[in-house]
Assembly symmetry: C2
Homo-oligomer: 621 residues x 2
């Protein structure tokens, strides 16, 4: 257990729950990394769509960012209300389920789960991608590096939510700090120069406009792409119970810090882009640089601040996956409590986190990373559909919630506008990215819902069938069972098994399968078994010898057991099997696995009245 | 079972053994393909070593082939005697073990096993290699084609020895026939032209001699390489029991046919090489052609006969692996009967062959083929060491055998000369190929011997420890066991398990692990269990509730069982575990595997007095 303790920390007692809970300053890195890191790619995503407009496109960043910030604030107010209304956590799933019905709840849950999974793969691979483009000789280690980051995130999160929060405080504040300094310097320069700042390193010229008129569809697509900056805002609402009591103010404070910081970063970057006239570069072309790199270089040159900023961006992209690790297991647990997912997802592991969910997320993310070789660009279009679907359902649910609980009109209005805005965004995102991969999500969602519904059906069936019925003791079924003992050869293990069988029941049948002419057991039976039993005054076990012309050694036993079971409708039957306990894996090859195979044959082929008794035999060595 | 019957044939009863045995005409393809196919590469191997001598080297093929044929005949006479002396089969292993001691036997067995395994990989890849060099666009399918051939050989051999023999009669006789016609035409031309035949397609000029004087070491190496033609001659002696009664004449007749055919082919090819002046071409260089292709083209031109000959060579190379499939399982069985290998190798499968050995051989060969990507050139130097080591040990053993059984001096002399000649060959082969890979065999042999000795030690230990001792019934141990029933929640499955436990013993402890505050089982115990038991006049099971602050659900049960066991030194303990039988693999994810894990924990962590009772619960659906 030494290694386990070192890796995962000492086990925590259930009573230590309060000590594991987090403060808002730990909550920001735990739940906020996904949202904050999107400042690094949201503006770029919008600017890339605007490329065909040339330099004119850059001007549109101001109204677009304003629209995105307004939507962000609507979503923020909505989730503030959700946190207060559902302090048990569960976010969009709970809100949608309670107010719109189980179908809507499952849709929200499935959408979020897919999004969380994608977030892990895309976040890690974006971070490592940034590293590799800075240090090209690392290229060939892309996949191993992605998997190492995934392993670190998995272990840190298995150590408990408090450890994860503490571990990622430094990178988060480094990211916000360096980017804040860049924005502050830039804004100061803009003011000093009356809106015409001098770029220390001038950005490349914007391409010549390929499109003359500005189409509505283009702007909508740019808006939809920029909206990826909003993903991750729902995270806090799923994890309210991770905070110290009183949970609601702590969770709300955390959400407020995250959203205000994000607004500051988005607004600041948009301002710099606008005044420094920075167009995106084409990611498919040589000479590509990220918008953030262009902005930082224009404002601060390629010095220490630039390096530090880029390093913190890279780190935060990698760690943005942490939000998924904090939320996915909690969401799965909430859904599993409603029987829609395996119950093992509801169990708290040694550090009081829902370890199974962490393992599942890590496993699926590893599969995605391996399939795509650590470069998950093709997964990006699948992204954000899930988050916005969850936003929409959650806010529509809140509208119903206020109506049911006679909330104020202003509450209802905020959520109604939010639902409409995010709903439109879902449609735009799906339409704009349908052929690039969003169709996968559209197919996956109903499949996931059907699967979850079937899981619940299975659990209900099990509950119904295993319901305790009738009295404990039937009237006529308390006879000792008929115990059947398969005997391969007469040795101490067979002797021990037979002896144990005789303590259980006076009716013991020893069964021997003879493949050849060897009848040594029948010859020994009288002296080895019958005489001693008579002398001890015990009932004498019968020996049944079964011939097997085709050299099958197990099927004749199974046939005999089934026949005995059929002939004794009101008795239970037990088969006592001698099992060699192998202490070394390589002994597996030296002994037959007949006891395991016979057990499986009897359990799968037998009726409900056959029980298996394993009598172990241990080698001393 | 329909597919099984189609693939492997209907099961054969043990009494059908005689019908499965083979005649000499089936014996030649079964045991002879390895030896016969070596006519295709033995002479080439010698000629390649002679390349530095230029055309002068070609002249040496005559004395070299003569020496090889003499050695072949010595080995032949030796194995004729072995067959008669050891009609039970087992060849070199049995002879060496009986006469030189178990160590020598194991050395012979290990050497042969390694050789058989290499023969499968190298044979198949040589055949597919020949096909690929004829049809280059098949190159990229090399590995899949190798594995398909391996699968076919595996299935045909699993169908039984008679089926395998019959299946490969046609290719064997096609090979001998076409090559025989080529040799006949060639020899006729040589005689007609008085020793100066005209090559229809002249072979490429022999390279200019790089070495002036002929060194003894070069000749020895050429001899050692040419001796690969002898591999496979021991095969018949391992499989004497595969023949119809009387086995000895049938096996001898088969061996005679194989050896005479091989002598004819080797002599014929050497004659044609000598008189047509055919030097080998360098296998590493462009323009490489096999010696057999050069010979056939020189004698018959590139017509139908050439094509047919090359096709049959390719086929027979692929099928030469069949000798291994016929012999390896028999050898393993003989060794396993002496407890040096897992006993499962001695079991006859549905078609009366030793199926396990076939599977093992197939599996290892597949691994080799996959590791080397279907191109096993680098394994060739490992080859032949094993075969000659086995020859040497077998003949040395026969010398001792004759001395013990006062055999004639001529018998002893034949075997003595054979042992000396093959012994020298082993030394030359190992010395000549040591750095190219023969060292692997030199390392593998002792490792294999140590492994087999340890297997036997383990089996002896098991036999000694499981020896039936004392009387069946001890004086004071026939009390019913203490039965412990872990109960997770009160439902029909728990009810069934408890009810069954109560039929086995009056002393039943129900154990419930409580992780939280929920004590619903304790609250129900009186009404659900105690009352009904009292009413039925049965002993009342006790409920023990165990607290688990760290949420472990199994360890407290194990601890309790061990404690009960410790407190009751003279009682047996049984743990009755309710097991959900999962009829679909995907249900695995929906239920915990606690019953399996608990079973493993109790068996591995418990003492000798804990038995496990599985009470299955079935879902109707």
């Amino acid at each position: 257990m030494g290694v386990m303790n070192l890796l995962f920390g000492r086990p925590l007692a259930s009573s230590e729950d309060q000590g594991e809970r987090i403060t808002p300053s730990q909550g920001v890195p735990t739940f906020g990394l996904d949202a904050l890191s999107s400042a690094a790619y949201g503006p770029e995503a919008a600017l890339t769509i605007l490329l065909p407009l040339g330099l004119a496109g850059v001007r549109y960043i101001a109204p677009l960012t304003a629209a995105i910030v307004v939507l962000l604030l609507i979503v923020y107010f909505s989730y503030r209300q959700t946190i207060a209304a559902y302090p048990g956590g569960g976010g969009s799933y709970t809100v949608a389920k309670e107010n719109l019905g189980p179908g809507a709840g499952l849709l929200a849950a499935a959408a979020l789960m897919i999004d969380y999974l994608l977030n892990v793969a895309v976040g890690i691979s974006a971070g490592i991608g940034a590293l590799v483009s800075a240090v090209p000789w690392l290229q060939k280690f892309t996949l191993p590096m992605c998997l190492v980051v995934l392993a670190i995130l998995t272990i840190v999160n298995l150590r408990g939510v408090r450890d994860a929060g503490s571990a990622f405080i430094a990178p988060t504040y480094l990211f916000v700090g360096t980017l804040g300094v860049v924005i502050a310097i830039g804004v100061f320069q803009i003011i000093r120069t009356g809106g015409h700042p001098h770029a220390l390193i001038p950005p490349p010229h914007a391409p010549v406009a390929a499109v003359g008129a500005v189409g509505l569809w283009l702007l909508l697509r740019a808006f939809a792409s920029g909206c990826t900056a909003l993903t991750g805002v729902e995270a806090v609402s799923n994890g309210v119970q991770a905070f110290r009591e009183p949970v609601v103010p702590a969770a709300r404070k955390t959400l407020t810090i995250i959203v205000l910081t994000l607004v500051f970063l988005l607004g600041g970057i948009a301002t710099l882009v606008y005044f420094y006239g920075i167009a995106a570069t084409d990611p498919g072309q040589p000479g590509y640089q990220s918008v953030l790199s262009l902005v930082a270089a224009a404002v601060a040159g390629r010095g220490v601040l630039y390096g530090l900023t880029m390093f913190s961006v890279l780190l935060v992209l990698c760690l943005s996956a942490n939000t998924s690790f904090a939320d996915f297991p909690r969401l799965c647990r909430t859904v599993a409590l409603d029987n829609y997912l395996p119950h093992s997802l509801t169990l708290r592991g040694r550090r009081l986190v829902y370890s199974q969910g962490i393992w599942v997320l890590s496993l699926f993310a590893a599969v995605l990373l391996i399939i795509f070789g650590g470069v998950t660009d093709r997964l990006i279009p699948l992204f954000a559909v899930g988050a916005f679907l969850a936003f929409t359902l959650s806010q529509a649910g809140m509208v119903v919630h206020w109506r049911k609980n006679s909330g104020s009109l202003s509450h209802m209005l905020v959520n109604g506008v939010g639902a409409a805005a995010t709903g439109v965004t879902v449609l735009v995102v799906v339409a704009a990215k349908f052929t690039q991969g969003a169709w996968v999500v559209v197919l996956l969602l109903p499949a996931a819902i059907v699967l979850m519904a079937r899981v619940r059906r299975h659990y209900r069936l099990v509950t119904r069938e295993t319901e305790a019925k009738g009295s404990l003791l039937g009237t006529n079924n308390q006879h000792p069972p008929i115990v059947i003992v398969p005997i391969d050869q007469w040795n101490a293990a067979a002797q021990k098994t037979l002896r144990f069988a005789m303590t259980l029941s006076p009716e013991v049948h020893a069964v021997h399968v003879a493949c050849g002419e060897d009848d040594s057991i029948a010859a020994q039976w009288n002296t080895m078994v019958e005489q001693p039993a008579l002398e001890a005054g015990a009932p004498v076990p019968r020996l049944i010898t079964l011939r097997s012309p085709y050299r099958l050694v197990l099927q004749p036993v199974v046939d005999y057991v089934l026949q005995i079971e059929k002939e004794n409708r009101h008795r239970t039957v037990a088969v006592a099997i001698s099992t060699m306990v192998e202490r070394h894996w390589y002994h597996y090859f030296l002994h037959n696995q007949r006891s395991e195979v016979l057990t499986a044959m009897l359990l799968l082929g037998g009726d409900r009245r056959i029980n298996i008794i394993n009598v172990p035999w241990y080698l001393r060595a």
